[in-house]
Symmetry: C2
Subunit: 229 residues, 2 copies
Amino acid sequence: MTGPGWDAIRAEVLRRIRARDWRPGEAIPTEAALAAEFGCARATVHRALRDLAEAGVVERRRKAGTRVALQPVRRATLEIPVIRAEVEARGQRHGFRLIEDRDLLPPLPVASRLGVGADRPLRRMFTLHLADGRPFLHEDRWLNPAVLPRPAPDFAAVSVNEWLVTHVPFSAGEMSFAAEGANVREARALGVDLGAPLLVTERVTRTETQAVTLVRLAYAPGHRLQMRL
Amino acid sequence: MTGPGWDAIRAEVLRRIRARDWRPGEAIPTEAALAAEFGCARATVHRALRDLAEAGVVERRRKAGTRVALQPVRRATLEIPVIRAEVEARGQRHGFRLIEDRDLLPPLPVASRLGVGADRPLRRMFTLHLADGRPFLHEDRWLNPAVLPRPAPDFAAVSVNEWLVTHVPFSAGEMSFAAEGANVREARALGVDLGAPLLVTERVTRTETQAVTLVRLAYAPGHRLQMRL
DNA sequence: GAGTGGTCTAGACCACCAA
DNA sequence: TGGTGGTCTAGACCACTCC
């Protein structure tokens, strides 16, 4: 006496939305009604509708009910591995060089984006990542030294990127992409012309209590970032 | 007689992982054991752990149990609105111009990426999207005419992008980003120099039964794509 | 095989919020 | 204030997969 699975219900609801039985903006039946129709528990319907809500297909509010999204917002997810893993996943050998590493007072824009005072020095680091010995990615980082243990790790042996990912707790943050012309450091490190189009990503990460790092990653020309829709 | 909520359990498990009570690669207790410890139903623990698995913090396999992820893969999600909505969200007025629209036999790479025969013409369309009258994005599209109704919509009145999102059922697909130098069409349409760094995204979308479209979007210089971590 | 996560049930109570 | 989704329970069976 067990009804259809939640994925079957998800599929059927999706079918009706695509078939325009339920049109964008319209309310669809309540969980209780659908459970009765499909002959299953309300929890099963709930599981299916929650999944569709996460996918952006429907919008749900208590009391207001469930509506077909007016503009089905597509969400794409990007998996961000450790850079070493990213290189090795391409079947190449990863290496890196710590180009520069010093303490520096952050300029105001950097301090404010990290939410730290501009009167305390941060660790400023430049790293070049290599794939089979060829330039892969240039990393320009401001690191809050407060997140480091004492004594601090040897970032010539383990890349900052990898150390942070494996040792600093799950944190919140933002990330953005843009295309920019290579700056002087990037051009020299990656071996490209000044102003060559590079895919650049900027990330800010924080723990609950403090800023961790602000980093600008510039990929070597031709790099494509793959996402799942 | 109701125990802690699933989010409280999620938080506690996360705390123990961050505190290295449970180290990367190690198995954590079973759902049943955690339910007993926390004094709640197994379903509640399940809800919490499923959430952590989706976030990439733990890995779960039947029989093998739940392990702390060795390399916590970060997932960033990108929301992809209709281009009109994207412009309007910036407080600007959206407009567009259909630059060119004709039927053309696809070159082999295009046909194979879409999974259609190279012997049937596709719709080739170039559209320029405007924000407050200024170039915002150049759209270079191959469209499978089989997805269109008869008579076909008037793409001079509604942008292809918007029509597809609101009329073609939820579909699977891939997406990628890169930085590329502006090509001749893009340079002319966006009003930039040939070879200027542009953020370019390519999408292929399919329904369950057929290919829909392959599109290359080139954003005007300076555009940043924001993601949530 | 047997242990683990994945799912379903029938019921209950709660939180939210539009009417 | 009542209707809706969100959650929790105690139990059951199933599916996968490691041993």
